[in-house]
């Protein structure tokens, strides 16, 4: 298989162009070339969403993209965040502070086996960023969480705590208005 140069931004850092096979899937690129193994390969067919990363669009919006069905070269020139990019790290590279969603998921024991957790964290992060642009009315909170997280599959069936933790963190961050 032929290869071509790939350049992208990963977790805020520009990745030097490297020769990457034309048909390499993004999840394999992250795992095998960048040693970023936090994005999980679940179903491998774009259904479970355990593999999603966040793409930051030029217009300031962010979105989830499934890496198990999307080629690495789709991300050429794009800004990508993976689960490894959310927490604040100290000078030695150790995690010193989780992002508010990760912390809330830990506090509320939202995940069980954790296989789906990176996907849920990314989905909830995208939701936080969306609501930072446009807060949601309280009456719509349940629906907006369902719409944003509902396509993620948790085989331990931990949905109640994921959804509850997400509602709580959105409220805590001041992203829910009365109404």
């Amino acid at each position: 298989m032929a290869s071509r140069s790939l350049q992208l931004t990963l977790n805020g850092k520009s990745v030097d162009p490297a020769d990457i096979p034309d048909d390499l899937l993004m999840i394999d690129y992250l795992h095998e070339y960048k040693n970023l193994t936090g994005s999980r390969l679940g179903c491998g067919q774009g259904i479970c969403h355990a593999c999603v990363v966040i793409v930051d669009n030029p217009d300031g919006t962010s979105e989830e993209v499934r890496t198990c069905i999307t080629g690495a070269h789709y991300f050429a020139g794009k800004r990508v965040r993976t689960i490894e990019g959310h927490a604040i790290r100290d000078e030695e590279g150790k995690v010193s502070q989780l992002n508010p969603i990760q912390q809330r998921f830990v506090d509320e024991f939202a995940f069980q086996c954790s296989y789906c957790a990176p996907g849920f964290v990314n989905a909830a992060t995208v939701l936080v960023e969306k609501l930072q642009r446009q807060p949601v009315a309280k009456s719509q909170l349940e629906k907006v969480v369902e719409d944003s997280l509902g396509h993620h599959i948790c085989r331990c069936t931990g949905y109640v705590r994921y959804f509850s933790a997400t509602r709580n963190v959105l409220t805590e961050l001041g992203l829910v208005r009365e109404g």
Partner: protein, 406 residues
């Protein structure tokens, strides 16, 4: 093992009636014929009670709602007798004498036999009556004047004339009845003129409907797109074959109608459509990358980026997930609009017979720009579609504009 005499009797019965061997009563026959005529498609709203109406049908003249045809006396057809039902089915005349809008395919049903009409009516009398009115159709002037339809009926009420059945086999004739009359396939696959009537000289030549092409069902065109009789009848039975899976408007047709047809009837349909001496199905070989146009060669990377994860690098697809691109009939249509629409809009998850399903296909309208879409279309069509036509950016833009203006 069944008694030989019984088996013979069943075989004769099948050949004669073309319906299920177990469809012994009039109601059972009626149920089968109701499926074959796909009454469900228009007379059941999405998620609604069977035959209770309410499905909005977009027409160039306005939105027409499928009516309640359950035996409700107030809201359905509970007061119809067999004569009145036959008049509605064959002539488009309502019980109160008013004309039905020709969204009801009575120009196709015009040749439904009286016996079959009575059986369908007998079956519909057994479904649960739903005491709820379907939304009233209200078209703008002049289309709201039902009297105007009388003149239209004088011109088109007999429907598109059927091809002569002289010298044709029983299977062919049965196929014609299923395709042209009960199945009313021409209502989508035959182009319509300015008045909304099917054009007799363009029978089954393909028509654009809701932004998608209902492709030509002419024998040579089907064969050109890779269809043989076995694949065609199994496509109708299972909703999928080597040529792809049902989507868009054909998916509910499969779901409500064709999957229930007995094998002899499916074979009859294939015999009628492809003819008694069917043209040989064209087999394509994959075209190598270096033989493709520059645009198509660029398109390969788009394919690898967003398609190959499910449809596979070599286009063989994945069972129960995504159809193969290799051999896919949609790639072989001259008109690229179906391929473009599917790539842009995606397809919802679809269930087929048994446990078979195809998972949802995402839409890529916001993932690929117009040039990338053009390149991808060229890659797919030139590699697996047997065409050397190279679409230009303007072709794709024109199709998008057409879709947007509907």
């Amino acid at each position: 093992m069944k008694h030989p005499l019984l088996r013979t009797a069943m075989a004769v019965g099948l050949a004669a009636s073309g319906v299920f061997a177990h469809a012994e009563t009039q109601v059972e026959r009626g149920e089968y014929l109701t499926r074959a005529a796909d009454c469900m498609a228009c007379h059941t709203a999405k998620g609604g009670a069977p035959y209770a109406g309410g499905l909005p049908i977009d027409s160039p003249f306005g939105t027409i709602y499928g009516t309640n045809i359950t035996p409700s006396k107030d809201h359905g057809i509970g007061l119809y007798n067999d004569d009145e039902f036959f008049a509605a089915l064959n002539e488009g005349i309502r019980r109160d004498g008013a004309n039905l809008y020709p969204a009801m395919p009575y120009t196709s049903y015009h040749r439904v036999t009286r016996e079959d009409s009575d059986a369908i009516h007998a079956y519909l009398k057994t479904v649960e009556p739903i005491e709820r009115a379907a939304p009233e159709t209200s078209l703008g002037f002049p289309f709201n004047v039902r009297m105007g339809i009388t003149a239209w009926n004088l011109l088109y009420g007999d429907g598109v004339p059927l091809e002569s059945a002289e010298g044709k086999s029983e299977a062919w004739q049965r196929g014609q009845y299923l395709v042209d009359v009960l199945g009313h396939c021409g209502e989508c696959h035959t182009p319509r003129g300015m008045t909304g009537a099917m054009q007799p000289d363009k029978r089954m030549m393909g028509a654009v409907l809701g932004g998608y092409l209902a492709p030509s069902l002419l024998a040579n065109d089907l064969a050109e797109r890779g269809w043989n009789q076995d694949d065609l009848s199994s496509f109708l039975k299972l909703g999928m074959s080597d040529q792809g899976a049902m989507f868009n408007e054909m998916y509910p047709v499969f779901h409500n109608s064709t999957q229930y047809l007995a094998d002899p009837d499916l074979n009859a349909i294939a015999t009628f459509l492809l003819g008694e001496q069917p043209p040989e199905a064209k087999v394509l070989t994959e075209v190598a990358l270096d033989e493709l146009s520059t645009s198509a060669q660029r398109g390969r990377q788009q394919y690898l980026n967003v398609c190959a994860g499910c449809h596979a690098v070599s286009g063989e697809g994945k069972p129960h997930i995504a159809v193969a691109m290799r051999g896919n009939t949609t790639l072989r249509l001259d008109d690229p609009r179906n391929l473009l629409r599917v790539i842009e809009d995606g397809i919802d998850e679809q269930q087929f017979t048994g446990f078979e399903r195809m998972q949802p296909m995402p839409g890529f309208a916001d993932k690929l720009d117009q040039q990338e879409l053009t390149d991808l279309l060229n890659y797919l069509r030139q590699t697996w579609g047997g065409t050397d036509s190279d679409l230009a950016l303007a072709d794709v833009q024109a199709l998008q504009q057409e879709a947007g203006s509907e």
